[in-house]
Every structure is written in structure tokens, then in C-alpha cells.
């Protein structure tokens, strides 16, 4: 088991990062920190995916005409990451705008400081 963890150290790091991000999202009451936690989660998943795509002594998946054929890493996870990055950027931007509006309304980005109120 531990040997497997050692082999897949990237995976392990990704998972730990994921949990750190999750913890931040839950614990921190500051919106900006929550957003940072979300980004940590996202990045950890990207890290995991790119490690999945890795191949020992593989080169970038670019076919150069006339070059000697050498093992190339897996392009599919990279494409998936590109998509996921766009999603992450969009989510973060939207969340930041919400935080901005929250700040305009309440003068703070700390969710606990704001008491519940009815419409």
C-alpha cells in the first residue's frame, strides 16, 4: 500500500490538496478565502488529471514531421484540463462578482458577520 502511495505520489498530493481546499471552503467564513479554497480544489483535480496523462520519458504530444518517433504523453487529459480550466475560471469570476456585490451590500466579505434577514 505505502509503496503504491510512493509510486503515485502525484495522485496523493492531488488528493491532499483537494481535501485542503474543501476544508478551507467549509471552515473559512471569509468569502475570498472560500473562493481560494475552491480554486485549490479545482487545481488539485487538474493536477491529478495531468498526472494521469503522464507517461514515463514521454514527450509533448506534438508530431513534428521527420522527427524520430518517440513515446508521447496522453493528449486527452490535457484537453480535458483545458476545458476544466475554462470552467474553473468562469466559476471563479462569477463567484468573485457575487462577492463584490455582497461587499457592496454589507460592507464586508465575512459571511458570519452578516445576520440573517428576511426580504
Amino acid at each position: 500500500m505505502w509503496s503504491m502511495l510512493a509510486d503515485n505520489i502525484n495522485y496523493a498530493v492531488a488528493m491532499i490538496l483537494f481535501c485542503i481546499g474543501f476544508y478551507t471552503v467549509i471552515i473559512r467564513s471569509n468569502l475570498i478565502k472560500k473562493i481560494i479554497g475552491l480554486m485549490i480544489m479545482q487545481v488539485s483535480v487538474f493536477f491529478f488529471l495531468v498526472s494521469v496523462g503522464y507517461l514515463d520519458e514521454g514527450v509533448a504530444p506534438i508530431v513534428i514531421p521527420g522527427a524520430a518517433p518517440s513515446p508521447m504523453v496522453n493528449p486527452l487529459p490535457q484537453a480535458m484540463i483545458l476545458t476544466a480550466i475554462v470552467i474553473a475560471v468562469s466559476t471563479t469570476a462569477l463567484f468573485l462578482s457575487l462577492a463584490l456585490k455582497f461587499y457592496e451590500h454589507h460592507g464586508t466579505v465575512d459571511m458570519d458577520r452578516v445576520k440573517e434577514e428576511k426580504r
Binding site: 483537494f18 471552503v25 483535480v45 468562469s90 466559476t91 462569477l94 457575487l98 451590500h105 426580504r119
Partner: protein, 509 residues
């Protein structure tokens, strides 16, 4: 040409979503007609798909003409096309309703009673319509795709649009509701993405049909189980399965009413459709071990959700909050239909998706008409509403008949199948629970109906209400109400193919 219908039903709204803001730079009031036109096109295309799908069990479309495991495949089975028709129809009605709702005109005596009038600034209206189109396209793509990563992408598109639509009034409570929603939904989406990556890392494929085969014969069955659980959790947040429902009441009650109708009627259902999809088309067939306990967990969660949602709905005093909690309860019904893992119950659940979608959209739109017309949100303020807004109140009453499950409405059919299914799979207790739930539904629905129709207005209320909502709004609600009746009577045309489709699904296909 006909094989391209599915893709164009999805792509046309996507394109229109970016064209609507451009057009409305010069022509302000073309936004809604464009939206309506495009959604009609989608509706027509999805409806034209039905005969094809019924003829050949499912319809497979290879995008970029790459054969499946290498490219992305659209795989529309009967469940998919069923959902596509439902989605485009409800989105169309909501778009028609929204026209007067977000762009109110003042009443005869010059003063406008519209509640969101100052909150939906004029420059936000094209944005609203393009978000509406995007979310419709996202849902269509979500139910139509046959590729699990593509499913996730559409899921995210849908999620982002729904956050934005909840927050569109820009005032305090909608913003807070949207933040709460995102704080639960984004980590859930990340869990789903992680699950998909795990699945990919042990199978090397993303195509569902392909995965179904690989997952069965994989050496990494435990990883696949874990990825299944993570994926289910990711979808369950969207589906507001019981312990993960916390975001729902705020988001649904604070959003503008058409958006609440969309959220309650369709978007939460997408989570359950996703659960059904991945369970039966990816993991289920050759790999039944996760089903056994995960589905039973979901079943009991659903049982709790029914009771909890009903009790909370009875205790509410705010109209939209009550409807939102009733949504939690009905999601419990649908999840129960899935959790029983029995064909009849699943048919009941899916029929409930449709019946509840239509009825709940109608309830929220009626609440929107009443609130925007009179500003009253408390239930006891609705006394005597019938005298001022008869059509809206009638629509509300019909829809609540369906929510309660009075025959012959769509809700009744769904409950009938749920109870039969629970008897079928040896849980008569749950069947009784479903009926007890419908009694409680009667308590909270008929209370409102009783206030509306049989009580005189209290004091000065409803004095300065200028009367019925504009025809487009009242018409939209009435259409939905009548549909929820008709779907109960016409069920015999929908049920047999649905039962066949569910049979195929449960058999793993």
C-alpha cells in the same frame, strides 16, 4: 436530415444566446421574440425526435463523424427525448411568462405594482434571456449526450447559468442565496470531476456505452465503486437529496419567480436524471454491486425527505418558501422511485419528474404573478385573492391538485406507480408513506387554495390591486395547469414506451 435534429435542438439556443444581446443593442424588445422563436425550434426538433427514438430504441449521433470511443457521441434514448421535450416546452412557457414579468408596464392608474420592477434593471433583460437560452441548451445537451465528460461540461454550464439567474435581481437576499448555492454546488461539481477523472484513469475511456463494458471487466473495481459514490454525491447536491438540500429553499424562494419555476421544475431534476444515467448506463449493467447499498441509502434519504419537506412546507408562512419545501418533498418522491430500483417505481419516479415539473413550474409562476401584482408574499395575505386574480388562482388550484395527487392528474399517476413499485419491491411501508405524504401535501396546498377562494380579503388588503395579471402571464400559468391535468389523462400514451425504456435501462443498456 432528420438525424441532425438532436444536435440542432441543442446548438440553436447556444448560438442564439450570444446573438440576443447583440440584437438587443439596437432592438431592445426583440430579445423575447427571438428567445421564444428559438425555443420553439428546439421544441419542434425534440418532438420530431420522438418517433425516431421510439422506432429504434435509441438514437446515436457521432459528432465530427468520429466513431464513438474516439469522438463524442449523442445518445438519445426515450428518457432523453422525453426530458428534451419537457425541457424545451417548460423553458418556452417560462420565456413567454418572463416578458411581462421582467419588463412590467404600469397599470391603468399609472402606478406599477410589479415587485421586481426596480430590481431587474432594463440593461439586464437581454442578459436574462441569453441566460435562459443557455440554461435550456445546457439541459438539452445534458440529457442528450452519451459522453460522461461532455455530460459534466453541460452540467457546469447549467450550474453557472443557474447561479447567475438566482442572483439576477442583485439585491441582498438573492445574492446571499446564490452564494450559498454556489458554496454547495461548486465543491460538488469538483467531486464529480474528480470521480470522472478516477474513472478515466482506470478505464481510459469517456464514452458511456464504452465505459459500461470496461467497468464490468475492469481490474480496479474498488476504484470504480468509489468513483461511483463520488459521482452520485456530486449529482445529489444538485438534486437536493435530503441531507444536501440546504441550499434549495433559499435559492428557490429568493430568485425571480420564473427562475424559481425553472429551478424547481427542471434543474433540480437534472441531478436525478444524471444519477439515473450514470447508474444504469455507465455502472449499472455489468457492475451491480454499488447499486445495492447506494440505492437503498438514497431510498431512505428520500423517505426522510418526503416527511421533512412536507412538515417544513406546512410550517411555512411565506408562499414561495412553502413551494420550495414542497419541491424537496417531491424530489423525495422522485429519488424514492430511483432508490427502489424497480421498473414500476422508476417509471413512477420519471413520470413524477414530468408531472411535478409542470405543476411546480405552474405554482411558482402563479406565485410570481400574485407577488408581482400585489406584493403579498405571506400566505395569509392571499385571502380573497380569487376576486382580483381569478385565472391565476384557478391555475394555482389545478396545479396543487396535481401536487397533492388527486386523480386524474399527472401527480396521481406518478404516485400510483410509486406505490405499486414499493409494493412490488416489498416495501409496503414506503407505499403508505407516499400516500401519507400526499395527505400532508393536501394540508399545505389546500390551505392556500382555501384562503384564495373561500375567505374574504382581510381589511384593506387587495384594495389597490389593479386586477388580473397580463394575458401572457396568466395564459402561461393556465397552459401549465391544464397540461398537468392532461398529462394525467393522456398518460396511457406516454407510459408504455416509458416502461419499455426503463426496462431496457434497468437491464443495463
Amino acid at each position: 436530415m432528420s438525424q441532425h435534429l438532436a444536435i440542432y435542438a441543442i446548438v440553436t439556443p447556444l448560438l442564439a444566446a450570444v446573438l440576443v444581446p447583440i440584437v438587443s443593442i439596437w432592438r431592445k424588445n426583440w430579445a423575447m421574440p427571438m428567445t421564444g422563436l428559438v425555443l420553439t425550434v428546439s421544441l419542434v426538433f425534440s418532438t420530431l425526435l420522438v418517433p425516431q427514438v421510439r422506432a429504434s430504441g435509441y438514437l446515436s449521433y457521432h459528432l465530427g463523424s468520429w466513431e464513438p470511443p474516439f469522438g463524442i457521441e449523442l445518445r438519445v434514448d426515450f428518457l432523453g427525448v422525453f426530458m428534451m421535450v419537457l425541457i424545451s416546452a417548460i423553458c418556452l412557457i417560462v420565456a413567454v411568462y418572463s416578458r411581462k414579468y421582467i419588463a412590467p408596464d404600469t397599470a391603468k392608474d399609472g402606478k406599477t405594482f410589479f415587485f421586481y420592477a426596480e430590481e431587474m434593471q432594463e440593461e439586464k433583460r437581454p442578459v436574462y434571456y441569453s441566460l435562459l437560452l443557455l440554461i435550456c441548451a445546457a439541459m438539452l445537451g445534458f440529457v442528450a449526450t452519451g459522453d460522461i465528460f461532455n455530460m459534466f461540461v453541460f452540467f457546469e454550464l447549467m450550474a453557472i447559468c443557474s447561479y447567475a439567474l438566482v442572483a439576477i435581481p442583485g439585491t441582498r437576499l438573492p445574492i446571499r442565496a446564490a452564494i450559498k448555492y454556489m458554496l454547495m454546488a461548486v465543491p460538488a461539481a469538483m467531486l464529480a470531476l474528480l470521480a470522472i477523472s478516477l474513472l478515466y484513469s482506470v478505464t481510459g475511456s469517456l464514452n458511456m456505452a464504452d465505459l459500461a463494458g470496461l467497468a464490468g471487466s475492469s481490474d480496479y473495481s474498488r476504484v470504480i465503486t468509489i468513483s461511483y459514490v463520488l459521482l452520485i454525491v456530486g449529482f445529489a447536491v444538485k438534486a437536493a437529496v435530503f441531507p444536501l438540500h440546504i441550499w434549495l429553499p433559499d435559492a428557490h424562494s429568493k430568485a425571480p419567480s420564473p427562475v424559481s419555476a425553472l429551478l424547481s421544475g427542471l434543474i433540480v431534476k437534472m441531478g436525478i436524471v444524471g444519477i439515473i444515467r450514470v447508474t444504469y448506463s455507465v455502472y449499472g449493467s455489468h457492475f451491480p454491486s454499488p447499486l445495492s447499498w447506494v440505492t437503498s441509502v438514497l431510498m431512505w434519504a428520500a423517505a426522510v425527505a418526503i416527511i421533512y419537506g412536507a412538515i417544513m412546507a406546512i410550517r411555512q408562512n411565506d408562499l414561495k418558501l412553502m413551494i420550495a419545501y414542497s419541491t424537496i418533498m417531491n424530489l423525495g418522491y422522485i429519488t424514492l422511485g430511483f432508490g427502489l430500483a424497480d421498473v414500476t417505481a422508476l417509471v413512477g419516479g420519471v413520470y413524477q419528474i414530468m408531472g411535478h415539473g409542470v405543476a411546480k413550474a405552474c405554482l411558482f409562476l402563479c406565485a410570481g404573478s400574485i407577488i408581482s401584482r400585489s406584493g403579498y408574499q405571506k400566505i395569509e395575505d392571499l385571502k380573497g385573492a380569487y376576486r382580483k386574480m381569478p385565472l391565476t388562482c384557478i391555475a394555482f388550484a389545478l396545479a396543487s391538485l396535481s401536487v397533492v395527487g388527486i386523480p386524474p392528474t399527472a401527480g396521481f399517476i406518478g404516485k400510483w406507480y410509486l406505490v405499486t413499485g414499493s409494493l412490488n419491491s416489498g416495501y409496503p411501508f414506503l407505499g403508505a408513506l407516499v400516500l401519507a405524504g400526499s395527505i400532508m401535501a393536501a394540508v399545505y396546498c389546500f390551505r392556500v387554495v382555501y384562503y384564495m377562494f373561500f375567505l374574504p380579503p382581510s381589511g384593506e388588503s387587495w384594495q389597490n390591486v389593479s386586477g388580473e395579471a397580463p394575458p401572457s402571464m396568466a395564459g402561461a400559468t393556465l397552459v401549465l395547469a391544464i397540461a398537468s391535468m392532461a398529462l394525467g389523462i393522456a398518460s396511457s400514451w406516454i407510459l408504455p414506451p416509458l416502461r419499455d425504456a426503463m426496462g431496457v435501462l434497468l437491464a443495463g443498456g
